[in-house]
């Protein structure tokens, strides 16, 4: 049982400020500076969590912000990391992943059902289609960590960019030294560390190292060139030295000229039965709990050792008053340094068991560890059979050098087991940066083998373990990084790597009853990994995906290396043959709120946005614009308002804001030739003062945009694009212009010009008093374009059949827009004019069967399929997509756009509902609406060519699988001879 020790000068807590908080409904007390984990540990809480799969009781494992054992629901926020989250007065926390609370978790029964939940169970369960819904319900109920509150308030965070010359990731001795060296060369240095304070392993149990580290920290804090960010995780590396830094309140996107990774190593657990019991933890966790928070790991500890650090930890804890019952060393042969440490431990009264293995931890009634059974490692191997506990010698291959002798089990009473068997390089960022690693047999660790330009590594990550060597290695890396960034000259020679092995090669002990966990996040045992390999998932990548090893909250920080060792033993190869997986960014979990930042969402508003608001616009998004869906009128439903807007256009006049259309000018003697190349039609022969419809394709012949091209002068055209396509079309045109090098220039005035469509049989009559342009049929024919003034403002007027009525598109500068809009609106009001929105526009266009690019066409539609052959001039020398169209024309259409009439007006399909022919999909509805003008429901559908040619009835599968019938019909539905837009009757 853990408990708080008396105060010490260097502790991180302020005992003068007690804090009261609630965990699982019970009130506890911590101190200012305590994390949730340390406060609960100090309070003697027996366990803090339930495991993910088997709901086994868990307590602190790493105390390093890695494992899932210390995730909590805190004040409504799920999966708060208790190792690094400070307690606060009144905080309310609870465990995640429990049913009925931590102690009485009903799902703990799953631990007894473990044998029926083998590896891959999740995937196998879904093999039977019939049972899929049942399994899905069960998995959805049982899995997941924490509870998301759907009505929680949105928490915005101030994301920011940062800049420096040299970024040093990791504030241990080598990182501190690197920062100082880089700063000394004149570089601006950013030093980040995930801990609350700098120093990391340098502030461990070794007095001399602590003193030296404190001196380094003082120098760093005194340097004006070094900016320190504590409690900050470098969570991802992106191209060009772009690092994501996450702290409690924000994400910083930091751009560095050079990066030093001094990310160190992560302590790894030993794998033995019940190695997950509360009370079993990493030695570094015990050390940090004690030194920083003055929490003793227990009253009677056993240290499982596989390296020198195990003995050092034992001596350190002993000096702090923790009783060490025994040291169980997996190794038979010790270096002189190890042997001296072992002798020191023995002299201090600790029992030292060399060449012994922790066979199984024993749980007491409360679920926590009460004893450890250890067994000697027999010297004589069973012939030919690789055994657990055997070191990997030579080229890393499993070598049967010993076996567990279960006939000589020895029980050691204890309330905590501290594991010190080795380390894994924290190389995730280095790998993301494009560095490579190789497995060192001598160190039993992956070490850097190549580094990209501007990336440097030092310290234990680099395989350098001796304290002074780490400091020297940091100085070398910092100096080199500064030189890369343009400061000084790189100095310092490469530092020799450790001459002792800090990690045991195979700290994994088999047990017939299993529960020897490799991955604590996912409850994966040794046999799970072996079974996965046996089923064929025998590479590191496949093993990960099938078994989910390394896919939990720790992202493999405690499991990947041991999983590789298990796989290596199974395959009879060395670990180096298997390779590390590269974590995708973010390699360390980052709260979504930090990624979302302030939730900036660029939205465009036309220059008459305020006029729409004044007129009651109901908004809808259209691309990145906000547009009026319709204008709400008191006493009218949505449908009635839309119908009235349509009726106004058909019977009188309506006004719509089409300023969202892309608006582009092209100038120059070869402007016409340019347009001939980018559109399917011909424009170099277009008369000045006239417009023509344009269809734009990509190189595969697919329709990507359409618009109207107006020739203003012999060398200047003005043309529109679709609302959604304006930015991409302009970008594409610029690309073509650069590629072709024609004598012309493009100007995008989309946002700088407003545009309105004043449409309806009364439009000419009502507009004429506002303009000096002659709107008469002779002076301004259909498809003409004129410049003049409207309501006193310079304007371009285009006479186009936008909605199938006599109409004028009026383009003015943004600054004149509001005045012109108000003038047009006022002119129409006495005659029943209404502003109309996107929905009415869709109905009006549908009545004319004008297809909408992106709605009635898709990413495969060519002009032949959209019945737009009339807009294609195949005889032109060249246009984008022409070559593909020749092929497509030969092949014939795969689909054809047709008009349809619904036979039952009471049952309307929706856009994207499927057309079914003889039980198979034969098309889809692309547009559908009820036309009050025609008094019938109409639509467009993309059908198989055979069905389209039949001209008969089609069946549409609606919601709830009901079948709706429609008839293929000729288009346009309304005014098929286009007399109204041409104003033939009026003429």
């Amino acid at each position: 049982m853990m408990y708080r020790l008396e105060a010490a000068p260097e502790e991180w807590i302020d005992r003068s400020v007690p804090l009261s908080f609630v965990f699982e409904g019970k009130r506890y007390q911590g101190y200012r500076g305590d994390t949730i984990s340390s406060a609960l540990a100090a309070a003697g809480v027996p366990y803090l969590a339930r495991s993910f799969k088997y709901h086994r009781p868990r307590h602190i494992l790493s105390f390093a912000n890695h494992d899932s054992n210390t995730l909590f629901q805190v004040d409504g926020v799920p999966n708060v990391r208790g190792d690094v989250t400070l307690v606060s007065q009144g905080m309310r926390a609870s465990a995640v992943n429990t049913f009925g609370g931590l102690v009485d978790d009903k799902a703990r029964l799953l631990d007894r059902l473990a044998r029926w939940l083998p590896v891959g169970f999740y995937y196998k369960a879904f093999h039977t289609k019939r049972l899929f819904p049942r399994w899905e319900r069960m998995f959805r109920t049982l899995t997941g960590l924490g509870a998301v509150s759907l009505d929680a308030a949105r928490r915005t965070t101030p994301k920011r960019y940062g800049f420096c010359d040299v970024l040093v990731v990791g504030g241990g001795p080598s990182g501190l030294s690197a920062a100082l060296a880089a700063a000394a060369a004149g570089a601006r240095v950013a030093l980040v560390d995930e801990s609350f304070r700098l120093g990391a392993s340098g502030l461990g149990l070794h007095d001399g190292e602590r003193r030296a580290t404190r001196a380094l920290i003082e120098s760093v804090n005194g340097s004006a060139r070094i900016t320190v960010s504590s409690a900050t995780v470098a969570a991802a590396y992106y191209a060009d030295h772009w690092i994501a830094l996450a702290d409690a309140t924000r994400l910083t996107k930091l751009r560095a000229k050079a990066v030093v990774f001094s990310t160190g190593v992560i302590e790894q657990p030993a794998v033995f039965r019940n190695n997950d019991l509360p009370g079993v933890m990493l030695a570094s966790a015990a050390s940090n709990l004690l030194l920083r928070y003055r929490v003793a790991p227990g009253l009677r500890a056993v240290v499982v050792a596989g390296n020198l650090e195990g003995y050092r930890t034992a001596l350190g804890l002993h000096s702090q008053g923790v009783r060490i019952a025994a040291i169980v060393d997996l190794r038979a042969d010790l270096t002189a340094e190890d042997a001296a440490a072992a002798a020191e431990c023995a002299a201090a009264g600790m029992a030292v068991y060399r060449s012994h293995a922790p066979y199984e931890a024993i749980a007491g009634a409360a679920g926590a560890v009460v004893a450890l059974n250890i067994a000697p490692l027999a010297a004589v191997p069973r012939a030919g059979v690789p055994l657990a506990g055997a070191p990997l010698a030579g080229a890393g291959r499993p070598e049967p050098a010993g076996r567990i002798d279960t006939g000589k089990l020895r029980r050691i009473e204890c309330d905590c087991i501290l594991m010190s068997v080795g380390w894994a390089a924290a190389a995730n960022l280095l790998l993301q940066a494009g560095g490579t690693t190789r497995f060192s047999d001598a160190l039993q660790q992956y070490i850097p083998s190549s580094l990209p330009a501007g990336i440097f590594a030092c310290g234990r990550l680099n395989g350098v373990y001796d304290f002074d060597a780490r400091v020297a290695d940091g100085a070398r890396a910092g100096s080199a990084a500064a030189a890369h960034a343009g400061f000084g000259v790189a100095s310092g020679a490469d530092i020799a790597r450790a001459d002792r092995c800090p990690s045991h090669s195979f700290p994994i002990i088999d047990h017939p009853q299993a529960k020897n966990f490799v991955d604590f996040d996912e409850d994966l045992q040794v046999k799970d990994l072996e079974n996965a390999a046996q089923e064929g998932f025998d590479s590191s990548e496949l093993l990960k995906r099938y078994s989910t090893v390394g896919m939990g909250p720790s992202q493999g920080k405690h499991s990947n290396i041991n999983a590789l060792r298990v796989l290596a033993r199974y395959r009879g190869v060395g670990v180096e043959r298997l390779g590390l997986t590269t974590s995708r960014p973010m390699y360390h979990p980052v709260p979504l709120k930090l990624l979302a930042g302030r939730s900036f969402n660029p939205e465009r508003r036309t220059p008459v946005d305020a006029e729409h608001t004044r007129l009651g616009a109901v908004w809808m998004p259209a691309g990145n614009w906000r547009r009026p869906e319709y204008y709400a009128v008191s006493g009218e439903t949505r449908a009635q308002s839309i119908e009235a807007e349509v009726a106004a256009v058909r019977g009188g006049v309506g006004l719509i804001d089409v300023g969202t259309l892309g608006k582009i000018e092209i100038h120059g003697p070869q402007a016409g030739l340019f347009l001939d190349r980018v559109y399917t039609g011909k424009f170099s022969d277009l008369k000045v003062g006239m417009t023509r419809y344009g269809l734009m394709l990509d190189e595969s012949g697919v329709i990507i945009d359409d618009g109207v091209i107006a020739r203003m002068t012999p060398e200047m055209f003005y043309f529109t694009t679709t609302t959604g396509g304006s930015a991409t079309v302009f970008r594409e045109l610029q690309r073509w212009n650069a590629l072709w090098g024609l004598d012309c220039g493009l100007v995008n005035v989309t946002g700088h010009r407003a545009a309105f469509n004043f449409a309806g049989p009364l439009s000419r009559e009502l507009l004429q008093p506002l303009t000096d342009t002659d709107l008469g049929e002779a002076g301004f024919p259909f498809l003409g374009v004129r410049t003049g003034r409207v309501a006193g403002a310079p304007a371009r007027l285009l006479r186009v059949g936008f909605v199938g009525e006599l109409g004028f598109e009026i383009h003015v500068s943004a600054s004149d827009a509001a005045h012109v809009w108000r003038s047009l609106h006022a002119a129409g009001l006495p005659r029943g004019s209404r502003p109309f929105g996107v929905e009415a526009q869709r109905v009006l266009r549908l009545e004319k069967a004008h297809f909408i690019v992106g709605q009635d066409t898709d990413g495969l539609t060519d002009p032949f399929e959209a019945n737009a052959s009339w807009a294609v001039q195949m005889q032109k020398p060249f246009f984008v997509g022409q070559r593909s169209l020749r092929v497509l024309k030969t092949r014939g259409p795969r689909q054809t756009l047709v008009g349809i009439e619904l036979l039952d007006p009471a049952r309307m399909p929706k856009e994207c509902h499927l057309v079914i022919e003889q039980g198979a999909i034969a098309g889809r509805i692309t547009s559908v609406a009820h036309s009050r003008t025609l008094n019938k429901p109409i639509g467009l559908a993309m059908l198989s060519p055979e069905l389209a040619r039949s001209g008969g009835e089609i069946e549409i599968r609606g919601d709830n699988r009901e079948i709706l019938k429609a008839r293929i019909t000729a288009t346009p539905f309304y005014d098929p001879k286009n007399a109204r837009q041409r104003s033939i009757a009026a003429a």
Partner: protein, 190 residues
């Protein structure tokens, strides 16, 4: 200018020019242009639009801003009271071989005072604090998803940042930057 301040700038006249003869066209009208792209200059107002009585303290002595956005692209702004800059602007429909007028109805803003760089660091990935301002740089970049034109200066020892964007993004950029400025303790009023 001792406080962080953000405001929309109204009342200025602007236009742009593109085309192979754009520089010659400007110089023929007495407007000196920056020698290199991505630079700006405060040119003397040409006699055709000179307005000796006008003064604009807020522009800290700038007479006529001429920004060179590319080899053959320019942006002009005149914020002096009584400015008649647009007298010069060629009409798009009037043939001017090699000179393409660009309608500029930009939304324009000013960010100034201590903390300006910190605000910019929250919305843009350009390191404005590191720019060599003596070279009068013009920055074209993205700011919270919007293409912007930025002219940074130091005025009375504090940064003054002029920002222009497409007017249809004006509301969004103003609201967003205004929020950041306010949360940073600065002054912003719509």
């Amino acid at each position: 200018m001792s406080a962080l301040e953000f405001k929309r700038r109204n009342g200025c006249e602007r236009f742009g020019l593109k085309g192979p003869l754009a520089a010659e066209w400007l110089e023929a009208r007495g407007i000196a242009v920056p020698a290199a792209p991505n630079r700006w200059t405060a040119a003397a107002r040409p006699s055709a639009i000179a307005d000796p009585g006008a003064d604009d303290e807020s522009m800290a002595g700038d007479v006529l801003l001429v920004a060179r956005l590319g080899t053959a692209e320019f942006f002009l702004e005149d914020c002096a009271a009584g400015s008649r800059l647009r007298i010069l602007e060629p009409a798009p429909e009037s043939p001017q071989s090699g000179v393409y007028p660009v309608l500029r109805e930009d939304a324009a803003f000013s960010l100034s005072g201590p903390g300006s760089y910190d605000v910019l660091a929250q919305v843009c990935n350009v390191n404005f604090a590191d720019l060599e301002l003596a070279s009068q740089p013009v920055i074209m970049t993205l700011m919270i998803g919007v293409a912007v034109l930025v002219v940074p200066q130091m005025v009375s020892a504090w940064p003054r940042i002029r920002i222009w964007c497409d007017p249809t993004f004006g509301e969004y950029l103003e609201e967003s930057l205004g929020t950041v400025v306010t949360e940073s303790g600065g002054n912003y009023r719509r």
